[in-house]
Amino acid sequence: MQKPPQLLPTKLEDGQAPGIRYRIDGELVPVLHTWLDGRARRPTRAAL
């Protein structure tokens, strides 16, 4: 039997990638907080 789609986490406390830490918090309109250590290339945002 196929496994149904799984709900992705709605909150994330301690996300990490090279040069960046991040957190996702909030209920209706969630917010992404990022902390840059200055070593990684820039995070970017665009309205695509």
Partner: protein
């Protein structure tokens, strides 16, 4: 983000904010929904439906494709864009926004799932997408018309949103 200029040339506006550390910066979208990260390892790529992108680390490559044809009927315009993000040499992070809640289906090789055209948010590049269209001529839709959905075939992930909002474009 390499590739964004191509989109400007194609006639689509792009507003890009770059931030460089050290320091903190926060992002959100102007809609109720769900934010989630996708970590891309070197050599992997993900295809994202237009308007779902929130932010990405600057080490990801970007390009896009325009989907035409049957999609014209879905949105009453001349098509829509699918953004492609890939990591070449280093792990990168892509943050996307979906309306409502976002679910992920992990498809095994040749496993399939059918999704309403407005429902998918992202898919791995290894997942194939086809449009399924059926003419409706009887029953409660007696006036005719078409029922359309997208069929995804694995292997790979497909992201599904529980609410659909199609933002107007300039076309």
């Amino acid at each position: 983000m390499k590739g964004a200029f191509k989109r400007m040339v194609a006639g689509m506006p792009i507003f890009l904010t770059e931030a460089q550390g050290p320091g903190e910066i926060a992002f959100s979208r102007d809609g109720a929904g769900h934010l989630f990260p996708l970590h891309l390892t070197p050599g992997t790529a993900v295809l994202v439906r237009e308007h779902q992108f929130l932010a990405a680390t600057g080490n990801l490559d970007y390009t896009f494709n325009r989907v035409k044809g049957v999609s014209n009927m879905l949105f009453g315009s001349t098509g829509f864009f699918v953004d492609r993000f890939s990591a070449s040499h280093q792990e990168g992070v892509l943050w996307l926004h979906g309306y409502g809640n976002v679910f992920e289906k992990q498809l095994a090789p040749n496993e399939q799932i059918d999704i309403e055209p407005g429902g998918w948010v992202y898919r791995d590049e290894t997942v194939r997408m086809e449009v399924q269209m059926f003419g409706l001529k009887t029953g409660i839709f007696g006036g005719g018309g078409n029922m359309i959905w997208n069929r995804f075939t694995g292997p790979g992930r497909v992201g599904i949103q529980s609410m659909y909002l199609h933002l107007p474009t300039s076309e």
